[in-house]
């Protein structure tokens, strides 16, 4: 069965989610959203999620809209979560995982949303840190990147909005005790984790149609490879069918 890269990513994301997870997505998150809703309808019926600025808890919106804050996302929801609750869930570890991303990510999973270049000098300005510091409070940070190239995947980020696994024991001591930091990364090319002795990013699977060499070429640091790298599992027809029920307008196929 034919599927798009976005659909593959959504299905792969769903398999990374667990029953009883409590998660949230924000701006530009169609792919994680579809993954979350697929997980709810397959192996994770006890998963809860907040849909961005709409505050919708367990949204069942009929269509994918382009704005997470859109009030149409409240359709079929169970609660209108106030921002205060969302921030409290982020501090206290009630959210078990969050989908975060950035304009740069480095080999230890630190992310930047402030500036490429020197923020005090010449730079390209980003939108701001928003919730990236929560990589140090959330049990599992799942990183979702819409592109995979050496400009995004850099050896060291120019500004740390959210810290990864570098920084040693002192910085690790500033994390909330339940926080494991960034644990997983998905891009249009591959999935990665940080399961190396020094917690560097490691290639976990390569999406169908791509190669280990290509992924390493598109990564601006030495991406760890330990042993044979499997191909990311293609979506089953059953899962694709559910994805297309959630994404009725085919946004993920554009």
């Amino acid at each position: 069965m034919d599927f798009s890269t976005a659909e593959l990513m959504a299905v792969t994301i769903s398999q990374e989610l667990r029953d009883n997870d409590f998660t949230a997505v924000g701006t530009a998150s169609h792919i994680p959203l579809c993954g979350i809703r697929l997980a709810q309808r397959t192996h994770a019926p006890n998963l809860w999620f907040v849909y961005g600025g709409s505050g919708a808890l367990n949204s069942k919106a009929r269509q994918l809209v382009e704005m997470a804050a859109d009030f149409r996302n409240l359709e079929g929801a169970e609660y209108r979560t106030p921002l205060q609750d969302i921030i409290d869930f982020e501090f206290t570890g009630r959210f078990t995982c969050l989908f975060l991303g950035g304009m740069q990510i480095d080999q230890y999973g630190s992310m930047n949303m402030v500036a490429i270049g020197d923020p005090a000098g010449k730079h390209i300005r980003g939108p701001g840190t928003v919730g990236l510091a929560f990589t140090s409070t959330i049990p599992r940070t799942l990183v979702y990147m819409q592109h995979h190239d050496p400009r995004l995947f850099v050896r060291k980020v120019d500004f740390v909005s959210g810290r990864g696994h570098d920084g040693g024991e002192r910085l690790a001591s500033y994390r909330q005790p339940w926080c494991k930091g960034p644990t997983w990364v998905i891009t249009p090319l591959a999935t990665m984790d940080f399961e190396t002795p020094d917690r560097r990013m490691r290639l976990r699977s390569v999406h169908p149609g791509h190669t280990v060499e290509e992924v390493r070429d598109q990564t601006g640091f030495d991406l760890a490879v330990t042993g044979p790298v499997p191909t990311t599992e293609a979506p089953s027809p059953e899962r694709l069918k559910i994805i297309r029920e959630i994404d009725v307008d085919g946004v993920l196929r554009r």
Binding site: G26, T27, A28, G53, S54, G55, Q63, V65, E66, M67, A68, A69, D70, F71, R72, L74, E75, R80, P82, L83, Q84, I87, E90, F91, M113, V114, A115, P119, A120, K122, H123, I124, R125, G126, P127, G128, T129, V130, G131, L132, A133, F134, T135, S136, T137, F159, V160, S161, G162, R163, G167, L171, Y174, R175, Q176, C179
Partner: protein, 295 residues
């Protein structure tokens, strides 16, 4: 017997005495319930050197005020145009250093406002911001302290206290009791944190209607100084439960902004229109009404 005082004013009257240099916050999230009619009035009257305390995720109104030359200092958690991408005037001003930027984040804005709302001298956070570059680049906001109860590190952040906040809702009465039909984005905290509160509403309803459903009131009038009747007051953004955003208009804004021609946009839609009634006429009633058929 004396009369209960109406707070109903025109936008121009409500905003007339906001001085240059004021600390201003406009409520809303992204393109939802942002008080654009009040923001356009600020542009019309040419208020300058504003210190902007935005909500944690917003952009259009900030970008527009920057283009109007009205901003001198800006706190940033997320300033962007959501699905349209970066806010072009914000990006340019940041890169050309024409305004002072204080990088913060979502919890810092929220808890800073909460501190102001609750009269707290500061708020203590667990020390997770120390893992980021924010304390280094915004040393006036993030102070490492010792938790007096545990002896462990913590981070103190100061109150954020707007001189004036602008809030848009679906309905209000003339005494300032407001009903938002959309998400709740700390309007309750913002109105307590601000020295002055200006509320705009799509519709002005009788106090009796408010009193029929007191549990539906999201902003109590006791916190509100002025009420402005502003139909399509969140335009070109959405007013949840009332109308959606005007996508082509937002694209027009974004296109001009990217080309550094926001002045043309402001001339056409803000300065050329003496007030909001004229602005809505220029957009066209049919086009506006169509936005009500939403989803």
């Amino acid at each position: 017997m004396s009369q209960r005082r109406s707070k109903l004013k025109s936008a121009a009257e409500a905003l007339a005495d906001i001085p240059d240099g004021a600390k201003v916050l406009a409520a809303g999230v992204h393109l939802s319930n942002t008080p654009m009619a009040l923001v356009r009035q600020l542009v019309r009257q040419g208020t300058k050197s504003l210190e902007i305390i935005p909500t944690p995720a917003t952009g259009l109104w900030v970008d527009m005020l920057i283009a109007a030359g009205a901003v001198s200092k800006l706190y940033v958690s997320y300033v962007g145009l959501e699905f349209l991408g970066l806010a072009p005037n914000f990006r340019r001003a940041a890169q050309e250093k024409t305004l002072q930027i204080v990088d913060v984040d979502e919890p810092t804005i929220f808890h800073g406002l909460r501190a102001a709302a609750s009269g707290l001298p500061f708020v203590a956070f667990p020390p997770f911001h120390l893992t980021t570059d924010l304390p280094r680049t915004s040393p006036d906001i993030y102070k490492e302290i010792i938790d007096p109860f545990t002896g462990k590190p913590a981070v103190a952040i100061p109150p954020l206290c707007p001189d004036v906040c602008l809030v848009h809702v679906a309905r209000a009465d003339i005494y300032g009791n407001g009903v938002s039909l959309g998400g709740r984005h700390m309007e309750d905290v913002i109105t307590k944190a601000s020295r002055r509160v200006i509320l705009s509403a799509e519709e002005i309803v009788d106090n009796a209607e408010i009193c029929r459903h007191p549990t539906h009131t999201t902003i109590p009038g006791v916190l509100v100084d002025s009420v402005v009747h502003a139909p399509f007051g969140a335009y070109p953004g959405a007013c949840p439960g009332v109308y959606g955003y005007d996508r082509p208009h937002l694209l027009e804004y974004n296109e001009l902004a990217k080309q550094n021609k926001t002045r043309e946009y402001l001339d056409r839609y803000v300065h050329a229109q003496a007030d909001e009634a004229m602005m809505l006429k220029a957009i066209g009633a049919q086009r506006l009404e169509a936005l009500r058929n939403y989803g």
